[in-house]
């Protein structure tokens, strides 16, 4: 099965031999792709059924909560930390970003862009919290408690003095230009690093 486009971008960008922690790794889809190219990839995942599936695939995955359990990893335990589609579900995204860049010098962070034009339109015309392809759950039961936009995330890392090494914007699973990304990107992937 083909990798989700954001995961394919990350899998492609991590060099072989790197040590990686995939935070919120699900059933280990990205870890499998990373290990296939010789990356020492491990995972942290909150859902026990997903953890079981990943361990059953022979992966090293720990059941845990990104809000708390990143603290158990020592400084610089990894070369890269990965947080894909999970930032918006955390209790304090700013602290999670701090933790990612404590346990690894570089981190990939991907999230659905809440300023995508469909989201803006839904709010503007309907006056209701949008339900879209990437945000498919109604406001009262969504795990996405901290909606974030591309511009918000840029502001956060700037305020923290974090370097943005590279950004990928996706629209309809395809790359979209950085120009007008705030409107046009459904999804953004940031590669950030400590200064």
């Amino acid at each position: 099965m083909a990798l989700r486009p954001d995961l394919a971008i990350i899998a492609d960008a991590v060099p072989p031999g790197a040590r990686v922690l995939d935070v919120g790794c699900g059933d280990g889809e990205l870890i499998a792709a990373l290990r296939a190219k010789g990356v020492d990839a491990r995972g942290l995942e909150i859902d026990p059924a997903n953890v079981t599936a990943a361990i059953a695939r022979g992966q090293s995955v720990v059941q845990g909560d990104a809000n708390r359990d990143l603290a158990d990893y020592p400084d610089d335990a990894f070369d890269y930390a990965i947080l894909s589609q999970t930032l918006q579900t955390t209790e304090r995204p700013d602290r999670v970003v701090d933790e990612l860049l404590r346990i690894a010098p570089r981190a990939f962070v991907s999230f659905p862009n809440f300023a995508h034009w469909r989201v803006r339109l839904a709010l503007l015309w309907n006056g209701r919290m949008p339900v879209t392809r990437l945000l498919p759950v109604a406001w009262y039961e969504t795990p996405n408690i901290h909606h974030v936009t591309v511009s918000d995330f840029r502001d956060l890392v700037r305020a923290k003095g974090i370097r943005v090494e590279r950004v990928w914007h996706l629209s309809g699973d395809r790359p979209t230009s950085d120009a007008a990304a705030s409107w046009r990107a459904e999804h953004a992937i940031f590669l950030i690093s400590r200064r």
Binding site: R42, P48, V51, I55, S60, V61, G64
Partner: protein, 373 residues
């Protein structure tokens, strides 16, 4: 029955070299009874050691010679099973101090020929592991692909990683802990006192006599058995239902089904276990604390085990070795950078879940052994 137990012939080896123990004492020679399943490959790289729990034995996947019942993990070990004997050479050894053929309190004194009884030295979990390493040396197996254990077997797997990390590919630790808690020790002490309070115990020198402390041992087993089950499991299985009667007797017969069940469990246990062995093995578990030699820092125990791949599994209804103890181990492993997996499985059976039908556990065990990472 204990005397009958000691008449069973087991496959075993005696290693004549002295074995130094944690207590400072030593065994002049060590006998280890063991079973193996599946073929050892030419380069001897497919060996998996299974470590048994307190009252387990080496008959992991073959019928028990005393009770005739199927092996205690027959559902997990065998051709095509999660621990696949078509792929792995599986070894299970009776632990030091036990009563199924390995050196223990029933072992005869070399000088007098009389059973040692309480003259057998107190042993530890790590001593058990040292004896297993002697067995592997004897079998010419330098390195294990994996060591696997539940409960006290998990403690041995952890002690393996701490003691012989270079001899180990991976460690699978199920429903276990890196130390015995005050509550764990307390329950064991109740069991030991029940045995030693039985007049038939005779200071441990009951082997030649017609009397053995079966009543004390049965009570010890009853108390322990409660700790292996969950409250919800007991309630579902027995509730307040009465045993073979419609009304309460207003006496002290086993009115309730749960009483009848526990009495049966206690009595049946005395057919297959020796009271002194129960004393020695529970003591070994109580002394277990992997962090102790490292100033209380558990990570210190795993400092040399960075290259061992660990998988830890706990069960949500296990209050004997709760999830928090597995998490503590995972934290220590992460702090030294060892590859660790951990999951808490949901199962209704309490601590005993590791022995019972939990399909997710089968998948985990197969996965943890399947990867040649």
């Amino acid at each position: 029955m204990a005397s009958l137990l000691h008449q069973i012939q087991h496959q075993r080896v005696t290693i004549a070299a002295p074995l130094a123990l944690d207590s400072g004492q030593s065994l002049p020679a060590t006998t280890i009874a063991y079973q193996s399943y599946g073929a050892l490959n030419d380069d001897k790289s497919n060996a998996v050691l299974i470590c048994h729990a307190l009252t387990g034995d080496q008959y992991v996947a073959s019928d028990h010679p005393a009770t005739g019942k199927p092996g205690w993990w027959a559902r997990m070990v065998g051709p095509g099973k999660p621990i696949d004997t078509d792929r792995f050479h599986v070894i299970c050894a009776n632990v030091l101090g036990s009563c199924m053929g390995s050196s223990g309190p029933a072992t005869p004194d070399a000088a007098t020929g009389a059973p040692l009884g309480m003259a057998f030295p107190v042993i530890t979990i790590t001593d058990m592991v040292r004896a297993q390493a002697l067995l592997l040396d004897h079998l010419g197996i330098a390195r294990l692909q994996a060591v696997v254990g539940g409960s006290m077997g998990g403690m041995q797997a952890l002690a393996w990683a701490a003691t012989y990390p270079q001899r180990l590919g991976s460690a699978l630790v199920i429903a276990s802990a890196a130390r015995h808690s005050a509550q764990n020790i307390a329950f064991h002490e109740v069991g030991r006192q029940a045995i030693m309070a039985d007049p038939d115990w005779q200071g441990g020198q009951y082997y030649g006599s017609a009397r053995a402390p079966t009543k004390g041992l049965a009570v010890a087993r009853m108390a322990a058995h409660i700790t292996y089950l969950s409250e919800a499991g007991l309630t579902e299985k027995f509730g307040r239902r009465l045993q073979a009667r419609d009304i309460k007797s207003f006496g002290f017969d086993a009115d309730f089904q749960v009483e009848s069940y526990l009495r049966h469990q206690g009595l049946a246990f005395t057919d297959r276990f020796d009271a002194n062995a129960y004393l020695y093995i529970t003591r070994a578990m109580d002394y277990f604390d992997l962090a102790d030699p490292h100033d209380g820092r558990l990570a210190g125990a795993f400092a040399r085990a960075k290259d061992v791949r660990f998988t830890l599994v706990s069960f949500d209804t296990d209050w004997l070795y709760p999830t928090s103890e597995s998490r503590r181990i995972v934290q220590a492993l992460q702090s030294v950078g060892a590859a660790a997996s951990f999951v808490e499985l949901s199962a209704p059976f309490g601590h005993d879940s590791f022995l019972l039908d939990v399909p997710a556990l089968d998948r985990l065990v197969a996965g943890a052994l399947g990867s040649g990472f």
